[in-house]
């Protein structure tokens, strides 16, 4: 298939290499030219502009960091909407807000193109090994066309629904469940600490039974060891996501009291100078609230 790929960051480069490895005709683009060097060596082509990249492509994948970036790439003069052939598909695989996805969907429809939202679950190592979870939302035929590509990038594709934003809602809800799990752990650690219980003992109790899952084992361990400078996902990224979830809930008229607590704790962590630390530092923010720090 003739594919374009925009956004060669830590996630994007792993995903694009999977597509190239699958034998597809791949053109890549990134604002940093050097990011494309290894793709050119591996048989891909680097396009200097988005318009150049779009020529003759059936599918263009974007993996960009935030709403403003994907909107710019799609809507600016010479962007995706101006340059993609009619009937081509834009697969937006970053984590974006519902409003941004709706804006993109409407703009592509007007230009005779199709938007598929396909946010991913997993970190760069899973992207590189093609083991991402992918949540796809969009017209059924378009999602089916993309299926061979999604299979190269992920171990499993979930079909969210006919609307692109249905995939966005799933991704955001999953992030919300994770954030709230961290808050609950943070609160419970501060509770047991006040009873002189070693955090490690409590960690062992919860992770060997009801909560024997990566979310609790990973972030719980970071809270026990207080290794917040070893950053997987920083507080500021959590706050960006929390704001996207709050906005999605606002648009759909869904009160989410636990989400608001998560967001407030993130804000507090930023206020206390922990913005660039791992999100598990929410345990310290909660400890502050309980007078433990």
């Amino acid at each position: 298939m003739k594919i374009g790929f925009i956004g060669l960051g830590r996630m994007g480069r792993g995903m694009a290499h999977r597509l190239l490895g699958g034998g597809h005709d791949l053109v890549v683009h990134d604002v940093v030219r050097a990011a494309g060097d290894d793709f050119v060596r591996a048989g891909g082509r680097f396009a200097d502009t988005v318009a150049d990249l779009c020529a003759g492509r059936e599918v263009v994948v974007t993996m960009l960091v935030e709403d403003a970036a994907v909107i710019d790439v799609a809507l600016r003069p010479g962007g995706l909407c101006d340059s993609l052939p009619k009937g081509a598909i834009h697969v937006a695989m970053g984590t974006y807000g519902v409003a941004a996805i709706r804006t993109l969907g409407a703009a592509h429809a007007k230009a005779g193109q199709v938007l598929v939202a396909a946010p991913v679950l997993g970190r760069p190592d899973l992207a590189a090994s093609g083991q991402l979870g992918i949540v796809a939302g969009g017209p059924e035929a378009a999602v089916r066309t993309c299926e061979p590509l999604l299979q190269l990038m992920g171990r499993k594709t979930f079909q969210a629904g006919e609307l692109p934003e249905s995939a966005t809602a799933i991704k955001l809800a999953n992030n919300m469940v994770l954030g709230c799990a961290m808050v609950a752990m943070a609160e419970s650690f501060s509770l047991v600490r006040r009873y002189d219980v070693s955090p490690r003992v409590f960690y062992e109790v919860i992770t060997e039974g009801l909560f024997s899952a990566p979310a609790y084992k990973g972030y719980g361990k970071t809270m026990v060891d207080e290794t917040y400078d070893n950053v997987g996902s920083p507080i500021t990224v959590g706050l960006k996501d929390a704001n996207l979830i709050v906005a999605a809930a606002d648009l759909a008229r869904v009160p989410m009291p636990s989400l608001n607590i998560y967001r407030d704790r993130l804000l507090g962590a930023v206020a206390h100078g922990d913005g660039d630390r791992d999100q598990a530092v929410l345990a310290r923010e909660q400890a502050r609230a309980a007078g433990l720090e």
Partner: protein, 290 residues
């Protein structure tokens, strides 16, 4: 060992059977009669009073439903516990009640261990509970043979008996928060036209591939609340105990306050005797979906 067991609910009966299976001499008491039949057949003796259940015992275990029941039997145990015997409280009680009970036993020079358990009646009957224990080292050592029959694992909390309750209540609190969080997440995706089963699959195949999410997420995806494993009312009781334990040591638990309010709302809407996964319906009501 000579063991007394006060409280023959579903948990107590399972635990008693395990103690008998280990060859211990068991003397049982229940506040309402007629609960001891199975244990008698298995060799237990029945006491007519709490005091009688303490006679010549090395360990007296209490496994009763709440603080009120504990206070009712505790006076008798304090009055009748032999010197060198240990009272082991294994129910889920408030940190305050356990702290007070520990002080009362200490005043009489009696040994006291708090050892709340994680697990349901089936785990109790199979000897597969997780026991969270706290008390003086010598007293804990004395209980070890009994613990190893009732549980698959004993976790030592910290020095004070109430520290064991802190762990038990915090564990339940984390579960309550997970349920409320899932309820909120399901209502969000439903508003975007997503089939709840799809969200359930996404959530439980990765980061949350654990019993808490698989069991309660499934109940929510199926909207199956009428066969309660644990009711909304009992959930409220546990969350209130966690909030009280936190308040006792000045720890704010904002997520706990949210869960409590949602549970109260569920009861207000007539869902008090449903499984506490019904928080999904309460949250759906809050956003106009029901």
């Amino acid at each position: 060992m000579r063991i007394g067991l006060v409280g023959l609910g579903r948990m107590g009966q399972g635990m008693g059977a395990r103690l008998l299976s280990g060859g211990h001499e068991l003397l049982v008491y229940n506040r309402t009669a007629g609960k001891s039949g199975d244990l008698e057949k298995a060799g237990a003796m029945v006491a007519a009073t709490v005091a009688a259940a303490c006679k010549d015992r090395e360990i007296v275990i209490s496994m009763v439903a709440d603080d009120a029941a504990l206070n009712e039997v505790a006076a008798g145990i304090q009055a009748s516990l032999p010197n060198d015997a240990v009272h082991v409280s294994m129910g889920t009680h408030s940190a305050g009640a356990i702290k007070a009970l520990a002080a009362a036993h200490a005043e009489k020079g009696q040994a006291f261990v708090a050892a709340p358990v994680l697990g349901r009646p089936d785990a109790a009957a199979a000897g597969q509970l997780v026991i969270v224990a706290a008390g003086a080292p010598a007293a804990l050592k004395k209980c070890e043979p009994a613990f190893s029959l009732m549980g698959r694992k004993t976790v030592e909390a910290a020095a004070t008996p109430e520290s064991a309750l802190a762990i038990k209540l915090a564990n339940n609190f984390v579960l309550g928060c997970a349920i409320e969080t899932m309820a909120e997440a399901f209502s969000l995706v439903r508003k975007y036209g997503v089939n709840p089963q799809v969200f359930y699959e996404v959530m439980t195949e990765g980061l949350f591939a654990a019993p808490a999410y698989k069991v309660y997420g499934k109940l929510m995806a199926d909207a199956s609340f009428d066969k309660p494993g644990f009711t909304t009312r009992l959930g409220l009781k546990d969350i209130k105990l966690a909030l009280a334990a936190a308040e006792l040591v000045n720890v704010p638990l904002p997520s706990g306050s949210v869960v409590r309010d949602r549970l109260v709302g569920a009861i207000a809407h007539g869902d008090g005797d449903k499984d506490w996964a019904v928080l999904a319906r309460e949250q759906a009501r809050a956003c106009g979906l029901e």
